[in-house]
Symmetry: C2
């Protein structure tokens, strides 16, 4: 009889912040029954993934073991935890569990992508236990920057795992559930926690995390003092923040208008799920136009400077009939995620040109993070007393620092990045296998592999420009007419203001006129033409462009 | 007789941080004699300027008035002040002035770009006066993060201007000249300062700036405690920092090795110009390999995460025979410029994977800025007592805040962004004209206009991919052979795993077979083919690619 083992395999989120996907397995080697925790996305950027809408973990390893997947558990409704569900579910086809608010958001996403919402089963928090093969799973409420975030208590025949999900130690989160240390103490007292898979996002933030409630007074004061229109942005999913902002508006006698689809969706789901009894009254954009600006607050999407979101559109001019003016106030009740600085500053400068005052979180008054800081993580370790801390939800630097932090208080720690399979059966985890992992890109409606070369070719065209050559040869390999060059993304003219395309054509025609055996061999001709084009381009504009050569060979009828 | 006027026209650097270029003019309207202060560059990025090496101000306005340019004054040797000299000088052809160290760097740059170094005349600091038409200019030493930075005292028949250049109030800059308040007081006492054109970079930094000298002990301590190899990066031009780092190494018994061409160049220029008596002894990379790592410190380029610089190369593996190992220390003695976060974090995470400890300026111990902070700017205003503060060297938000800061202490302020010409003749400045300004891109060896469409096409290809269609028609407008589709930067297959190129070809052949008048009209055919290609692509992969159509019409011989 083969011994059973307990394995842990991150497929996304360990070594990066984004596209979370963690696998647990229990059973005989290579026959483990599997559960998946979260199916998230990350977002592309022009620098590394131009034209890519969404990035998600490559779940091939799971696909090949589809019959062994017992269930998929979603911890909360942030995109980096649920965003890939609709795209990847058809490959995994397992039952999906989530709490009420998360399930509502998830079903809407599934239906948008043509999947039935019934895939998701709504579950309650502990004490409900979900059985999934050898796993018994409970949702443990935690505070975060979205309602109903949860840690998972995962019981296996080899011991208890605590998967923290995204969390912060907030005793007063305003909306949703507070951090309740006694709940975690109870879980740890019930059964020893073999391993704590723990959020690492804020391991470098040295002060204790601040509560959502600390923002209420500063935001109220800021809005109270404002003279023109107030426009505030935050993540749409931060329902507590939306409430704080809306209440500040109300107490200053301002009507509130939600702008951006995501915001309305989140507020609706919060009310429908019962997370929120009601959201302060809002007015529609059409009504907002008629309200004096000093009596108005807009809540808008686009805290990260996203080009198509409401904030960027306001920065460029009108949006849904509204326009920023001198004396208005724009509040970023948010933090700029590293990499988004340029987009955000573009907006800030555009507002500056309009005479709009911009306030951000620099002084810590108008935004708090949704993740546990360094001292909070230490507290979590000390309450849960895990056999080992296995950091997740972080870049490598976060994971490494988190292990160091655990070690400083005597806890074992182990770094497992995407694709590293840990065997957790024994007393200390062992790396048992390296799985080839990767990323899937959603490009339009197509899912492509990160290594397929599509993005590489795009980057090359963007850096180097593109020259397309058309050559027609007859049945004797003689040129019919002249070579034709089209250029795209390259300077029109080279040295001495000669048109680049013409110079290329001249050189190619000379080359073709010389004739020879090369004209009869497609591969050699292609290579020779490329060489000519690149030589001319280097000479004329100092660049080596991408070259596509089309040789048409016409046969006599 | 026409009245003379004094004008100020920023062509770069006012409304952005980078590519500084400011014009002053004096004389009858449209006949003003002109001087240019600085000719800098800024750097491209993948998001907005893929493939572009350098960006510089469009100096067409100056070019068209070339005969009126009296001189070009370079304040200091940072790229954003001198980097465009070699590229743009042929269009301006005026005498260039700079102090010794700046002139050395400038001449090397000119010669690299095939210009004679003799274009630059070396000048001394005040009291030397350089006469340039109606202008009398003096170089006033200021402290900055590069040796020999200078403010300019610009005397005109209409009054005295103080052009601050980049500066900080550092009484102990370690290398180069200290901030001497009495010098500025003297200038202001001599003649009232009509306008202060003033560096705005750090207007949002609320604490007083810190001196370069404050870093000496913390860096020394850090290096002393390090156990493995120490590698430090900073801007190569920050000679004082290089000295501090090298001395810290020496006092810890470590040999110093400079890596990266820019570093060696700067150190050589500092010694040759006399700014530095001597640089601590260094070893060559070949020697460094044989030195035990605990006795070695590398000073490397690439503090901004630049892909080709030494730090990024070390993060990817070996560089000049050196390799980072577990237990080594990497110090960013630098600040990450907004927009460069991703590149820097890529390096940090790569080092984390190697087990290298990374230290950055987060705690303020290992880096200080080269620009005056908010209280420093206030002090400068109060010493110079200008008639008006005209902020420069800043994005719009900086300029606006700087004007507010000046106003808070009773100084008039005026925002002039690139292209806004101010008439400074009277008591308060007036906007007299808006000049169309822009940017020039250095693409390979070609200088192209930002609006030429080259970069737009590159971005489109990067976002949308590129389809190239070849169609051959005979003299009767009948297709010869079939349509040919080449795709680049697009998914190979569409729905049901059909090859995208083949699906496009099939649809095009059907379209061609239908024949009709459209085949005889090049423009209509081009448009129709594009439409077919885009429809197929949307259907198959949900994207609208860029399309290039080549129709060859063969005539009977």
């Amino acid at each position: 009889m083969t011994a059973n083992r307990l394995i842990y395999l991150p497929l996304g989120g360990a070594g990066e912040i984004g596209m979370n996907c963690y696998v647990y397995g229990y059973g005989p080697e290579d026959k483990e029954r599997l559960i998946v925790v979260d199916l998230g996305v990350t977002f592309g950027d022009m620098e590394t993934t131009p034209g890519i809408d969404l990035i998600m973990p490559d779940v091939r390893w799971l696909e090949e073991r589809q019959d062994r997947i017992e269930a998929i558990f979603i911890t909360h409704a942030h995109e980096d935890h649920i965003g890939a569900l609709g795209h990847l579910w058809p490959r995994l086809r397992a039952k999906v569990y989530a709490r009420r608010f998360t399930a509502l958001i998830g079903r809407a996403k599934l239906e948008e992508q043509g999947q039935p919402g019934t895939i998701i089963t709504t579950v309650e928090a502990r004490p409900q236990v979900i059985e999934a093969g050898p796993f018994k799973v409970q949702y443990l409420p935690v505070a975060h920057s979205i309602p109903e975030s949860a840690a998972l208590v995962i019981d296996t025949p080899a011991g208890r795992i605590l998967h923290s999900g995204d969390f912060k130690l907030d005793p007063t989160p305003l909306v949703g559930e507070a951090w309740r240390p006694e709940l975690f103490a109870e879980v740890a007292a019930e059964k020893p926690v073999k391993a704590l898979m723990c959020d690492s996002t804020n391991v470098f933030s040295t002060h204790a995390g601040r509560s959502e409630a600390t923002l209420r007074d500063p935001i109220r004061e800021l809005v109270q003092k404002a003279e023109g229109m107030v426009v505030a942005t935050t993540f749409a999913s931060n329902v507590a923040r939306l409430v704080t902002l809306a209440e500040a508006a109300q107490s200053a006698g301002r009507s509130v208008c939600l702008m951006g689809r995501a915001m309305k969706k989140m507020v609706a789901a919060a009310v429908e799920s019962g997370v929120l009894a009601e959201f302060p009254k809002v007015v529609a954009p059409e009504e907002a136009e008629d309200i004096p600006r000093q009596n108005l607050m807009l809540l808008v999407t686009g805290s990260q400077g996203e080009r198509r979101a409401a904030s960027a559109q306001l920065a460029r001019g009108k949006y849904l009939g509204m326009e920023m003016k001198e004396g208005d106030l724009f509040l970023f009740s948010s933090r700029t995620i590293p990499g988004n600085e340029r987009g955000v500053l573009r907006i800030v400068n555009a507002f500056s040109e309009m005479g709009v005052d911009v306030v951000d979180e620099a002084n810590g008054l108008y935004h708090v993070s949704g993740h546990a800081n360094r001292p909070d993580l230490e507290l979590m370790h000390s309450i849960v007393k895990p056999g080992v801390v296995i950091p997740m939800h972080g870049e490598h630097r976060h994971l490494r620092e988190h292990v160091k932090l655990a070690a400083s208080k005597g806890f074992d720690g182990e770094i497992a990045t995407n694709g590293m399979m840990l065997d957790l059966t024994g007393d200390s985890p062992e790396v048992t296998e390296y799985i080839e992992t990767g990323r899937l890109y959603l490009d339009g409606t197509a899912l492509i592999g990160a290594m397929d070369g599509v993005v590489r070719d795009r980057i090359r065209m963007a850096l180097n420009g593109h020259v397309m050559i058309t050559i027609i040869l007859d049945e004797n390999d003689e040129p019919l007419g002249e070579a034709w060059a089209e250029i795209m993304g390259l300077p029109e003219t080279g040295k001495g203001a000669r048109p680049l395309a013409e110079t290329i054509e001249e050189e190619l025609n000379e080359f073709l006129d010389r004739g020879g055996k090369v004209l009869s061999d497609d591969d050699k001709l292609d290579e020779a033409v490329r060489r000519v084009v690149r030589q001319v381009a280097v000479e004329e504009i100092g660049k080596k462009p991408e070259v596509t050569v089309v040789v048409s060979r016409l046969q006599a009828d």
